[in-house]
Symmetry: C3
Subunit: 141 residues, 3 copies
């Protein structure tokens, strides 16, 4: 499925935890990395989600925060560590590409002021953070 989401990670469902309204889905994307998504129960049923089902996790670049901390001290369920591969500056925002290993890149849209404040440049050790609520799961091609 083709979408504008800059971040699309293929994986398989590792776990499902169903609540009253929402289901928490853990997606194994390989390389010891997982992505956690909160979706409505209706969507989990409509997509026929079950363990081992192939899914793609989509995250808009605008939903991703960048952090220079080495470990996750935030409530964000998703914290993918890596190295800045490139910073593409715009008028007020920059696009930051973070190499998170395994040939994967996490893309974040960040204001130029934050790029400057964090001193982000090619090679900076950094992590991309995003909430479980920011993740959309897709099935099929």
């Amino acid at each position: 499925m083709q979408t504008s989401a800059r971040n699309a990670f293929e994986g398989r469902v590792a776990a499902l935890e169903r609540g009253a309204v929402n289901t928490l889905v853990t997606v194994d994307i390989g390389g010891d990395q997982t992505i956690v998504a909160t979706i409505t129960n209706d969507s989990a049923e409509r997509l026929g989600l079950a363990e081992d089902r192939d899914v793609t996790a989509l995250i808009k670049a605008t939903s991703v925060l960048v952090s220079t901390a080495g470990d996750n001290r935030t409530s964000a369920r998703n914290f993918l560590s890596g190295t800045v591969r490139e910073v593409v500056p715009g008028a007020v925002n920059s696009v930051v590409l973070v190499d998170i290993g395994g040939g994967r890149t996490l893309t974040a849209t960040v204001t130029n002021e934050s790029v400057k404040r964090l001193g982000l440049e090619k090679g900076s050790a950094t992590a991309g953070l995003f909430k479980a609520s920011a993740v959309i799961l897709a099935t099929g091609d």
Copy 2:
């Protein structure tokens, strides 16, 4: 109510589904289109939400993904199909206006790279996707 949200769709509450913390609200915006919102129970009570109540669904352009797929194979509860009316290019992001019928336009902020990759231009068949958690409901004027 005047807000910066580029997307503001008037409708009425068609259904409410209450969980432990959150309520799922289905809003009928006419033309056989609905928008689903996840809001906290406290907000549902504070706004006095009930079936048939008039509400406006607000969605920031940065929360909207654009897809060229014909049907929704994602967990996004909201998938509004249409045709690209205009692409307004910026330095790193473009604003994509999607005509979703009934005189309505859905606006998405998308990186220029995605516009190029998806080949988005005036007339492209496309859909706007957003999560129920991205929707804010407003009441009153």
Copy 3:
């Protein structure tokens, strides 16, 4: 903790309300202002959240809507009133800095079209709105 989030407000946990999947956390940031966050129960446990715990509330500028209404008639749990301090225009988006008192600034990314439509300029009475689901909580330094 250093992140790209333009909005980082220090405070302490005033209340926790646990659901099946999510916990609603109310953070007192002083000056009679609170921020409400929805996080997963796992994150609340991992961070050891409890009443009076020091936390920082992080909100990306792209998650913040700006409103010229005087009171909150929306489902957004967070509504911080203030005055526009500066509008930094870009190619398609502007960064709007809202002085919310107590030496605090709330930053929102808004399309230029919305800045124009709302007539936003230095001194405009305005409020920043964001959903509980848009807030990330951080602990430690």
